[in-house]
C-alpha cells in the first residue's frame, strides 16, 4: 500500500501556495495533517498529480481566542486546539468534541481545518462548526471569501471549497453568555468514527430557563444535521426540561443510512438518546457557569 507518484510542492508563503493550487486545479490536493489524505493515497484511492504541502506556512499555525470567536489557522493541529486553555475557556465544545476524535497520535498531526475540509459525515468538527454558526475562510489567487458553516458542507466529503482554494482559517464563534455545551457519541471502538455523535449548545436566560437549545448530529446524514430543540425545552427551567422530547425532535430530523456497523434505525435511535444526554449535560454546564457567575466567580 504505497502511494502513487505525484509532483511535490512545498510553498513557503500562502501566496505561493495559492499560485501552485491555481495551476494544479483539479489535479492538486493540499497536504496539511494528512491523516485523512495519506491513507487514501496509500490505498491508491486517490492519485493527485500535485501535492501541495502547506506544513511550512508558519503564518497559518495559530489558535487565537478573542471576544468574538476562537480562530484556528489551517496548520493548527487537533492536539494544539484541544489543549489550548484560552480556546477551551472560550469554546468548551471544541475540547469536548476533540477528545473523541481518533487517537492522540492522529491528533498530533491532523489539523482542525483539514478535518473540516475533509467533511467526513461522521466527523465531529463539522458538527461543532455548524452548531456554533461558524465559518471557513477560503483563499484563492487574488480573492478571499468567508463561507458560513451552513453553506460550507454540501455532502459526504464535499464542501464549498474550490480545488484552487486553500482553507486558511476556521472561525468558531463564542456561544452567548449563559451557555453550556456537551458532546456525546457512540463509536464501536474508542476513537473510531462515531456511529452517531451529537453536540448540544444550551443557553440559559437570567432565570436559568432555556433560552435556546440546538443540537448538531453527525453520522446520521450526508452533512451535520442541525436541530433546533426549542419546541421541546424552550422556556423550561434548566433542571426540569424534557430532554427526552428534545431527543425525539432530533431523532425525527435525521436521515441516517444502514452500513456494516449499524442500521439506520439504530442510528436514529442514538440521535435521540445522545441528544437527550448531551442536552442534559449542556444544561447542567450552563447552570454551573451561571452558578459560578452568581457566586462572584466567572
Amino acid at each position: 500500500m504505497k502511494p502513487p507518484p505525484f509532483d511535490y510542492h512545498r510553498p513557503t508563503s500562502v501566496e505561493e501556495a495559492l499560485a501552485v493550487l491555481d495551476d494544479a486545479g483539479h489535479d492538486g490536493k493540499v497536504l496539511a495533517g494528512g491523516q485523512s489524505l495519506v491513507p487514501l493515497l496509500n490505498m491508491r484511492l486517490a492519485a493527485p498529480a500535485h501535492l501541495v504541502d502547506v506544513n511550512r506556512l508558519a503564518e497559518l499555525a495559530y489558535v487565537r481566542s478573542d471576544d468574538h470567536a476562537v480562530r484556528v489557522g489551517a496548520l493548527a493541529r487537533h492536539a494544539e486546539v484541544e489543549h489550548d486553555a484560552d480556546a477551551h475557556a472560550a469554546v468548551p465544545l471544541l475540547r469536548q468534541a476533540l477528545a473523541d476524535l481518533a487517537h492522540p497520535a492522529i491528533r498530533n498531526r491532523g489539523t482542525v481545518v483539514g478535518s473540516l475540509v475533509h467533511a467526513d459525515p461522521a466527523g465531529e468538527l463539522p458538527a461543532v462548526l455548524a452548531l456554533l454558526g461558524g465559518a471557513i475562510e477560503l483563499a484563492g489567487v487574488g480573492a478571499r471569501r468567508t463561507v458560513p458553516a451552513a453553506e460550507f458542507f454540501l455532502g459526504p466529503l464535499e464542501t464549498a471549497r474550490r480545488p484552487a482554494e486553500l482553507a486558511t482559517e476556521a472561525v468558531f464563534p463564542r456561544p452567548p453568555a449563559g451557555s453550556g455545551s456537551a458532546w456525546r457519541e457512540v463509536a464501536r471502538r474508542h476513537g473510531d468514527y462515531a456511529l452517531c455523535g451529537v453536540g448540544v449548545l444550551v443557553t440559559l436566560d437570567r432565570d436559568r430557563r432555556v433560552a435556546a437549545a440546538r443540537a448538531a448530529c453527525v453520522s446520521v446524514g450526508p452533512t451535520p444535521v442541525l436541530v433546533d430543540l426549542a419546541d421541546a425545552v424552550g422556556g423550561r427551567p434548566h433542571d426540569a426540561a424534557d430532554w427526552a422530547a428534545a431527543g425525539a425532535l432530533a431523532a425525527a430530523a435525521v436521515d441516517p443510512e444502514d452500513d456494516i456497523h449499524a442500521t439506520a434505525a439504530y442510528r436514529r435511535h442514538l440521535a435521540g438518546v445522545l441528544t437527550a444526554r448531551a442536552g442534559r449535560a449542556a444544561a447542567e454546564q450552563a447552570a454551573g457557569q451561571a452558578a459560578g457567575e452568581g457566586a462572584g466567580g466567572g
Partner: protein, 181 residues
C-alpha cells in the same frame, strides 16, 4: 522517467541524517530502509494499528502517514532512540520485558515511543490512565493487560533514575551523518 528526489534533513535519535528520497517516500519506509532503522514496524499503512508510531519533535505520530520530505528539519525518535546510553534497554523497554508486555514484539516499537512520550507528561499514572495511554495502539498477542502493567512499571523505573535524566532521548549537538538510498 526516474522520480524526482528531494533532500530531507532529519535528526534521528540525536543524529543528523540526510536522505534523498522521492516525495512519496513514507517516513516509515525512510526510517526502515533508507536509514536502516528497522525497529519501527509497519502493520497497516492507514494509521490505525500504531506499530509505526515514532516521535516527531517529541510528539507521537504515525510514520506511515507522513512523507519524509514533509517532516524535513524535524527531530525524530524511534524505539532505537529509547534505548539506554550503552545500547541496552531503556527504562520503558526494560519495563516491557519485566512485565511480559510483549510476545511477538511486532507492535512493541509503537508502544515504546508512545509510552515514552506519554510518561514524560504523566509521570505518576493510575492503572486506568495507563490503559488510556495505550488506547491508540493495536496488539494482537498480549490482550493489553501486561502492557498496562509495563506502563506503570516504566513510570517507577523512570522515577528511580530521575536524578540522572528525565527519560528524554539523548540530545546534545547532533552529529552529522550522511544517509540515504
Amino acid at each position: 522517467m526516474a522520480e524526482v528526489l528531494h533532500e530531507a534533513r532529519l535528526v534521528v535519535n540525536g543524529v543528523q541524517r540526510t536522505v534523498r528520497v522521492p516525495a512519496r517516500r513514507l517516513l516509515s519506509d525512510c526510517l526502515r530502509h533508507d536509514l536502516g532503522l528497522t525497529g519501527t514496524h509497519v502493520g497497516c499503512e492507514h494509521g490505525v494499528c500504531g506499530a509505526c508510531t515514532v516521535l516527531v519533535d517529541g510528539l507521537p505520530m504515525r510514520s506511515c502517514l507522513l512523507f519524509a520530505v514533509s517532516v524535513d528539519g524535524a527531530e525524530v525518535t524511534t524505539t532505537e532512540g529509547c534505548r539506554a546510553a550503552d545500547g541496552g534497554l531503556g527504562p520503558v523497554q526494560r519495563a516491557f520485558m519485566e512485565c511480559h508486555g510483549l510476545q511477538c514484539g511486532f507492535c512493541t516499537p509503537g508502544f515504546v515511543t508512545t509510552v515514552t512520550a506519554w510518561l514524560r507528561d504523566h509521570p505518576d499514572p493510575t492503572e486506568e490512565q495507563a490503559r488510556q495511554a495505550i488506547g491508540g495502539n493495536l496488539c494482537r498477542c498480549t490482550g493489553y493487560q501486561n502492557i498496562v502493567a509495563s506502563v506503570l512499571r516504566a513510570a517507577e523505573l523512570l522515577k528511580a533514575e530521575e536524578p540522572e535524566g528525565s527519560g528524554e532521548p539523548r540530545g546534545g549537538a547532533p552529529v552529522d551523518q550522511e544517509g540515504g538510498p
